[in-house]
Symmetry: C2
Subunit: 403 residues, 2 copies
């Protein structure tokens, strides 16, 4: 069954004004032309939403794939399961929507996509798809390989990098959302000392923070990790657990929370009781490294320069870097996006990029029998013509203590 | 860099007792042997967690892939970015953990996985991977294709179906989690009439429900959709929006909420003011169709028989089925898992399967100028030796009204 259904976009449900998508498509097409692509095919939630405006929570189910073919010229084509048609029409501006009754494992939209590709690029062109670093395909690989065979001799090459490069630079409307959610989360973190106390578990505290974030107006906290231990925390990405908090514990909470489909991503630390001099001093030093990182951001520099500035600051204070692999990254529709604040990433910083500044250090804790601990600070910024603007409310140089 | 790090599983962080994983691996290996597979490679969050016990919220970031190679005989091998090692050791029982400093796009673990595959299957064997229906690869396709070339002549075939078949039948420990979260959500739905009123938006009500679900002890509501409209709702998967509720509106809320990594998935309906006779009668009839579906579940029958029972009940009452494509599905670590309650799915029902029973109908609403609306009811059950047990607290046959 093929049905062609026009869009009937409902402005109350639309994610952004229509011109936001026009600007995105112009930028994508410039890179498509440079890379000699007749069309690109996107199947991942974020790239599909970025182009079409279609929003739906149903992406958490892998049962039914969705496809968008964006040609270099002419109208984009959406291939969608029947069950998503109402939402597709209400939230997307795209009018050429073709559908099939999914699930249908023997042909889950593949033949419709093949026809759409042929219409857009002919039989000798090149098609871009989400193949490269940090991409995930939104369809089964077996179907992707079947499609690749079916459209031969059309050549399929990576377009993940194109989508990433375009998405790296945010519009004002996008930055506005990240700013709002970063403010909401900052305000919510301020409430933590009110419900953090000896005898409560990491899970209790994280649940109360999640409720606070919702109450303050965010939509969801898909990432909300809390890790605690005596005299420092050993990592930043396991938990929260049922571990009960006690005097002498340090707790870090890191959250990627969303508002209208955009993430903030930063952490805050809390100490129960009186921190040792070592902990207080390391905290203050790492706060200064973060300052150095923030101050080093400017259009025209490379993200590896930001890494180098923080690495030099850590070195100068004789601090050992944490084993996290990088000291920041892009954020937006995904909680971690390119670029990486990493020595090998030479991406040029541009106005409108939204980045996390996330230096970390490793140390042997004096109050935990010399056990190895880490300390990681994180803030969110948007790049401006002169430098950058903080989106998160800057953490205090003094470690937050709860007595 | 290759480091081999033994597991140091922290029982407080472990997802299940050690024997849960032993039983899973035995079941997977039986199907591997039947399918002549020397090993399987898993990269998706759920299958990785199902085998290794590794739990981490970091899966929401696509930056760093993780791999597990499970041989037909001998110890499984995990290939992990350095940054996840601490969590891997704390939560997984697997001792052969090999790592590299990710991100490293030129070789993001691929050569380590190649070596692991060769160790496990030799150079002439068959490797299963997540390729087929309803699977998603947890790594970029370009890296998957590179790996496939690198391990030639090892043949790569689908093992997604094997993982799915094993995961379909839940252990008592798994059912216990789904039961707990289904009870929490049932209790939370009971609170909705207390905060549902004229003038509030869909978003307001859904946010309050999300807070209620957290307060009652669940971890998260990754799926929480609310749709309302006058005289019935037009779909079940778009929203919640800023639409303000008014007298004469019908609201459906559907949520996939989690506890300790397991989902429940069911919906409830609410009516503001007095529903028309048409709405009340349709609601009661659809409630009966759900009863028919629940009563038809029994080990040895096929899921398509459950579909047929509900389709016949709809037909008998001259009701048109909603355009959703199926009338139920599996649930577990994913909000929708195979099987599908669909005429083409001949999966044999077994004790321990957890299913949604989800019949839907389509109608022209008399109080909305004949506009097309849908009505979808949903409950969660676990299959028992004699039939099935409700996990959600059964909805009332009378439509919940808020005056």
């Amino acid at each position: 069954m093929v049905s062609r259904d026009g869009s009937h976009r409902d402005e109350a449900l639309a994610e952004f004004a229509r011109d936001e998508y026009g600007a995105r498509i112009d930028r994508i097409r410039r890179l498509m032309a440079e890379n000699d692509l007749g069309a690109i095919l996107v199947t991942s939630e974020v790239n599909f939403r970025y182009i079409t405006g279609y929003q739906s929570q149903t992406w958490i189910s892998p049962t039914r794939p969705r496809y968008c073919v964006l040609p270099l010229k002419g109208d984009p084509i959406v291939v969608s399961p029947v069950t998503f048609l109402v939402g597709m029409r209400q939230t997307s501006w795209i009018s050429d929507i073709r559908s099939w009754p999914a699930p249908r494992p023997e042909d889950d939209g593949v033949s419709l996509v093949r026809d759409a590709v042929w219409e857009c690029v002919g039989r000798g062109g090149r098609l871009g798809a989400e193949l490269g670093p940090e991409t995930r395909l939104g369809m089964p690989v077996a179907d992707f390989l079947r499609l690749r065979d079916a459209i031969a001799p059309v050549e399929v090459v990576d377009a993940g990098t194109i989508m990433t490069r375009v998405r790296m630079v945010k519009s004002e409307a996008e930055v506005g959302r990240i700013r709002r959610v970063a403010r909401i989360v900052s305000k919510s973190f301020d409430a933590v000392p009110g419900f953090l106390s000896k005898g409560r578990s990491e899970k209790d505290v994280c649940r109360d923070l999640q409720i606070e974030i919702l109450r303050n107006g965010a939509d969801r906290s898909p990432y909300l990790v809390g890790v605690s231990d005596r005299g420092g925390y050993p990592n930043i990405n396991v938990g929260p657990s049922d571990r009960l908090l006690d005097d002498g514990d340090m707790l870090v909470i890191d959250t990627g929370s969303t508002l209208d489909g955009y993430f903030c991503d930063f952490d805050r630390e809390f100490f129960l009781g009186r921190p040792s001099d070592q902990i207080r001093q390391l905290h203050e030093k790492l706060w200064k490294v973060t300052e150095t990182g923030i101050a080093s951001i400017r259009p025209g520099r490379r993200v590896c320069d930001v890494w180098a500035a923080m690495a030099a600051a850590l070195d100068e204070m004789s601090l050992g870097a944490a084993d996290v692999g990088r000291m920041g990254h892009g954020i937006g529709m995904v909680v971690t996006e390119p670029p990486s604040v990493h020595p090998a990433d030479t991406t040029i910083i541009q106005t409108g990029m939204v980045l996390t500044v996330e230096p970390g250090l490793s140390f042997m804790s004096e109050t935990a029998n010399g056990a190895r601990k880490v300390m990681v600070h994180e803030e969110n910024v948007v790049v401006t013509p002169d430098g950058c603007e903080l989106l998160s409310v800057r953490a205090s140089p003094d470690l937050t203590t709860v007595l």
